[in-house]
């Protein structure tokens, strides 16, 4: 098919399993009893609580902020009483300070979503001044909702020496099972384009793109039709290939620009934003709604009613499983995030954050059983690596504590997509070892700095 774009080398095809939820409209979900809202849901420093135990809070109220360093504000996602400010275990095994809120009655939880009576702004409507946009985005506590959780108001701060000409909305959603962006592109298309246009005008870019893989025909149809209303925005169809959602590969596919290693998309004049982030920007800028909820997919082969839900931040994972009708079998594993890059857990109390894209319940037969066998040097990990690395060799170095060699072969350039582990016929946990390698490289660098302070 002409007009379908893709990155040139590497990548792999995954079993998509999106048909489970692609047609399920987003359901509004309220917190069942209590939420635990982490004070750090972003890249940077943690927020300090501005409420204390015993306080009554209402939905959308500021509960955490930090003026020093990189951070993003935190708001109450439900009305109720703060019962505690305590450390809870997160999905990355860190213990993070959380504001625990006991919900009041159900009616008070209702956040004022976008009033259906107020039309979404279109191409003719003005966008506030860049500084005003950044201020509203900062006040709403918006972060990148694709996973990295980088504070968005900082991302919209353009440096003079690196002008931005293009904005790409990342609707590739290449993780199997997850249909969050898929549904949002179908249901909230106008807000998505409005958000993209706000970003575009704020950073002074000429063009904006909404890119989506062709395995989501309904979403493609919606964004292509909507694009006709917006002269400077367009929809881009991507081939279905993992990892198209990786920022640098998305840019390569859409604009054929290669981001130099260790540099940000800014270096080639591009900013990439997540679908949901763009919608959150519309809500914040046009309607002054803070980011307190997110849409996520609850799916998997053992979920009785898989679906897409809009849930308050801080909702425990257990509530989501319950909302989806619970598991149909006893033997399954719970993955937070997509099955490729997500984390496995058995702690149902872990709260949803602003960057949780979904939870997936995986059946053992499907599960990547890690009984690693010897490497037969087939080179499939090398051929699928979208970064053109040699995962086989790097992991050998990592396992033999040869960190300098691992660095020389680019362990720090790995984007942790897991394509290598997925295809490895010997089922070697390459991604695990690559993570280890990055961590060891970071601590080695730390050690060097400690010994030779500049």
């Amino acid at each position: 098919m002409p007009g379908i774009k893709k990155f040139p080398i590497g990548g792999t095809h995954l079993p998509e399993n999106k048909d489970l939820t692609t047609d399920s409209p987003i359901k509004w979900l309220n917190a069942a009893q209590s939420v635990a809202i982490p004070l750090k849901q972003h890249l940077g420093v943690a927020c300090k609580a501005v409420v204390s135990a015993g306080d009554e809070v209402h939905v959308g109220q500021l509960i955490g902020a930090n003026s020093e360093g990189l951070s993003a504000r935190i708001h109450a996602s439900t009305s109720g009483t703060v019962t505690a400010i305590e450390k809870r275990v997160m999905i990355d095994h860190s213990a993070t300070e959380c504001v625990v809120i006991q919900c009041s009655n159900a009616a008070d939880q209702q956040e004022p979503g976008i009033d259906a009576a107020v039309p979404v702004k279109g191409p003719a409507d003005a966008v506030p001044e860049p500084d005003e946009v950044r201020k509203r985005v900062e006040e709403a506590g918006i972060v990148g909702m694709g996973g990295a959780a980088f504070p968005t108001h900082v991302k919209l701060q353009v440096k003079k020496d690196t002008p931005i000409d293009s904005i790409i909305i990342n609707g590739a959603e290449c993780e199997p099972y997850i249909t969050t962006d898929d549904r949002l592109m179908q249901e909230r298309t106008a807000e998505l384009y409005r958000g993209l246009d706000i970003i575009r005008q704020t950073v002074g870019a000429q063009r904006g793109y909404v890119a989506c893989e062709v395995n989501k025909p309904a979403a493609i149809k919606a964004i292509t039709e909507e694009a006709e209303r917006w002269p400077q925005l367009e929809a881009v169809r991507l081939d279905t290939r993992y990892p198209h959602g990786a920022e640098k590969h998305l840019i390569k596919a859409v604009l054929n620009r290669e981001v130099p290693i260790r540099q940000l998309p800014m270096a080639v004049g591009v900013i990439v934003n997540n679908v949901q982030t763009a919608i959150a920007i519309t809500e914040a800028v046009d309607h002054a709604i803070p980011l307190t909820r997110r849409v996520l997919t609850v799916s998997g082969s053992v979920v009785s009613q898989p679906g897409n839900f809009s849930v308050p931040v801080g909702t425990p994972l257990g509530d989501l499983v319950t909302a989806a009708g619970g598991p149909t079998e006893d033997d399954y594993r719970l993955v937070v995030g997509g099955p490729m890059t997500g984390m496995l857990t058995d702690d149902y109390g872990i709260p949803v954050t602003k960057s949780t894209s979904g939870i997936v319940l995986i059946r053992p037969g499907e599960y990547a059983d890690r009984s690693a066998e010897v490497c037969i040097r087939c080179g499939r990990c090398v051929s699928v690596c979208p970064m053109y690395l040699q995962p086989n060799r790097i992991t050998t170095f990592v396992r033999n504590e040869m960190i300098e060699e691992a660095e020389e072969f680019g362990v720090n350039d790995c984007i942790l997509c897991g394509a290598c582990s997925f295809v490895c016929p010997s089922r070697r946990p390459l991604l695990q070892w690559l993570r280890e390698g990055k961590a060891k490289s970071a601590s080695a660098a730390e050690e060097r700095r400690r010994r030779n302070p500049v």
Partner: protein, 572 residues
């Protein structure tokens, strides 16, 4: 902490496994297997599957899992390596060759290095190399699939068309003769993503380039022998080939190029075994030094292209210089030899008008007949012997009665003042008058130079060798009438005794001259004898004479061919 260990993704898997990979390769080997069974008969199936099963059985006690009744063929890696080795055997291999080959492959090729994934060299090729060196006859006796007769392979000099090569209707190893079956297997492997197209394609590319450089027919080079089989199934061996995209290309091209070099310039008509083993040894280095630029190393990629262009340029320049150097050296050497020959002959036979090189049955000796018009003046002969300090050249002049008139010691490296005395007139004059008949007396009658026994003995042995060669030569037609002229036109058949049996030829005479010599049957050594006979036939036709040099290293076959031609024309 098992949960933490497994808590990172991916949590799904392609469900691929080593076993699935290996059995897919087995499927790719099926077309070649079926074709070889069809061409060479059921014994071919025995050879292929006996090797495969023996390999799997021998691996069982070694792989640490012990005997497993549930899945006796293990992960299939030994089985498919066995199939590949089996397919590379000659169709007439003895029954024990598969078993010995399998044992060599699994033990020496694989487990010496630590088993699957750890071997540096392709186990099938290791086994093949050992078999080739230990039982050359077992490995290189080819039969024609049509009539079952023993024959040379196309590489050994058999003339066949491209189509036969493509379909596989030619003598050769079991699996390698049918190019079409191999291409089917290759297509399957590439589509399944099990091999990179870069490897087989660059093997063929490297071989084609080498063929063009060395003046061979590139298409014939690609279609004949096991290069196609090697390109698809051996160069792509996962464990022993590199993994990067650039290194795939370099590795493949190296395999192909070296194969042709070995075919062309060594005693082995088939080069892939040693060529691929050498490249196996370099695979790791290629991945290390030739790592592809990382995504985002934009500048590095540009530098790479520039460097690659430089490298190609440098290699081309070197190739050009080498070719020029060889040509120049050959030209100078020819001139030098001719000039020297003329000088010494003029010195020895001032009246000489014509020199004819005679067939010397000892390849170490060159003999020329010297004529004044049609009058034989004598013989001029040359050889090299090993003296005290290195090789030295002995030149002898004989009169028409085969008696030595003078002996000259040419280039040498003997000890100055002592060894060099062998060049003195006094020492050399002693040889005058000796002939082939009384050469045994040389050692007794020639007085050694005191203190230079080795040098003296060397000169004597050189002269002896020349006389011996003259002795044999005397039996052959001596007159320039060995020239094949004014013959009756027609096709004549004759036979002569070669190195390993009778050689039967048909000689075509047109316009009074020999226009073609065809070898009908022979039992000479494949790759050596048959090549020599072709060369001899060409030399006889070109010279229009039977008095031509024998081919070095295959004197028996050369002589047999000459005798057969002479026999064919004896009624003429």
């Amino acid at each position: 902490m098992s949960l933490q260990y497994s808590s990172t993704g991916p949590h799904i898997h392609s469900q691929d496994s080593i076993a699935r990979t290996m059995w897919s390769i087995a499927v790719a080997l099926l077309p070649a297997t079926v074709v070889s069974a069809w061409l060479f008969g059921p014994y071919a199936l025995y050879l292929i599957f006996a090797t495969a099963v023996a390999s799997a059985l021998i691996e069982m006690p070694l792989n640490g899992d012990g005997f497993s009744l549930r899945f006796p063929l293990g992960d299939g890696s030994a089985f498919i390596a066995g199939m590949i080795l089996g397919l590379s055997l000659a169709p007439t291999s003895a029954w024990w060759v598969p078993i010995v080959g399998a044992a060599l492959m699994v033990v020496v090729g694989k487990y010496v290095f630590g088993g699957l994934g750890n071997n540096i060299f392709n186990p099938a090729l290791v086994a093949r190399a050992i078999l080739l060196l230990s039982w050359p006859y077992q490995i290189t006796r080819w039969v024609s699939p049509l009539d079952g007769t023993t024959s040379a392979t196309p590489l050994g000099g058999l003339e066949v068309g491209y189509l036969e090569l493509f379909l596989g209707n030619v003598p050769g190893s079991l699996g390698e003769t049918s190019v079409v079956a191999l291409l089917l297997g290759a297509a399957f492997l590439i589509v399944r993503g099990l091999i990179s197209w870069r490897v087989p394609l660059s093997v063929l590319g490297g071989a084609a380039v080498a063929a063009v450089l060395f003046g061979l027919d590139p298409l014939f080079t690609l279609l004949s022998g096991s290069i196609m089989f090697g390109a698809v199934f051996m160069a792509t061996d996962m464990v022993t080939s590199p993994t990067g995209k650039t290194s795939h290309l370099v590795y493949g091209a190296g395999c192909g190029f070296l194969t042709v070099v070995i075919r062309r310039y060594t005693a082995y008509p088939e080069g892939i075994t040693f060529a691929f083993l050498i490249m196996n040894g370099l695979a790791y280095l290629m991945d290390r030094l030739g790592a592809d630029p990382i995504f985002g190393q934009v500048e590095e990629r540009k530098r790479r292209v520039y460097r690659a262009a430089l490298l190609v340029g440098a290699v081309a320049l070197m190739a050009l210089l080498t070719v020029a150097g060889f040509a120049g050296r050959a030209f100078v050497a020819d001139r030098y030899v001719e000039a020297e020959l003329e000088r010494s002959i003029v010195a020895g036979y001032p009246t000489a008008t014509r020199i004819v090189q005679a067939t010397a049955y000892d390849p170490q000796v060159s003999i020329y007949r010297v004529y004044e018009d049609r009058q034989l003046l004598g013989y001029y002969a040359r050889t090299r012997v090993n003296g005290y300090g290195g090789p030295m050249q002995i030149t002898a002049l004989l009169d028409e009665h085969d008696k030595l008139t003078s002996v000259v010691v040419g280039e040498h490296a003997e000890t100055p003042t002592i060894g060099t005395q062998v060049r003195s007139g006094g020492f050399l004059e002693q040889f005058a008058g000796f002939g082939p008949d009384d050469r045994d007396g040389l050692l007794d009658e020639v007085e050694f130079i005191t203190g230079a026994t080795v040098s003296s003995r060397a000169v004597i042995s050189g002269v002896e060798r020349i006389l011996a060669a003259r002795d044999e030569d005397a039996a052959a037609p001596d007159e320039p009438d060995a020239a094949l002229a004014d013959l009756e036109d027609g096709v004549f058949e004759g036979s002569g005794r070669g190195y390993a049996g009778d050689i039967v030829v048909t000689v075509t005479v047109e316009g009074g001259r020999v226009s073609a010599i065809e070898i009908q049957s022979h039992s000479e050594t494949p790759g050596i004898g048959d090549r020599a006979m072709d060369t001899m036939a060409d030399r006889i036709i070109d010279a229009g004479s039977l008095a031509v040099d024998a081919v070095s290293g295959a004197t028996g076959s050369s002589r047999g061919l000459s005798a057969a031609v002479e026999d064919a024309l004896s009624g003429n």
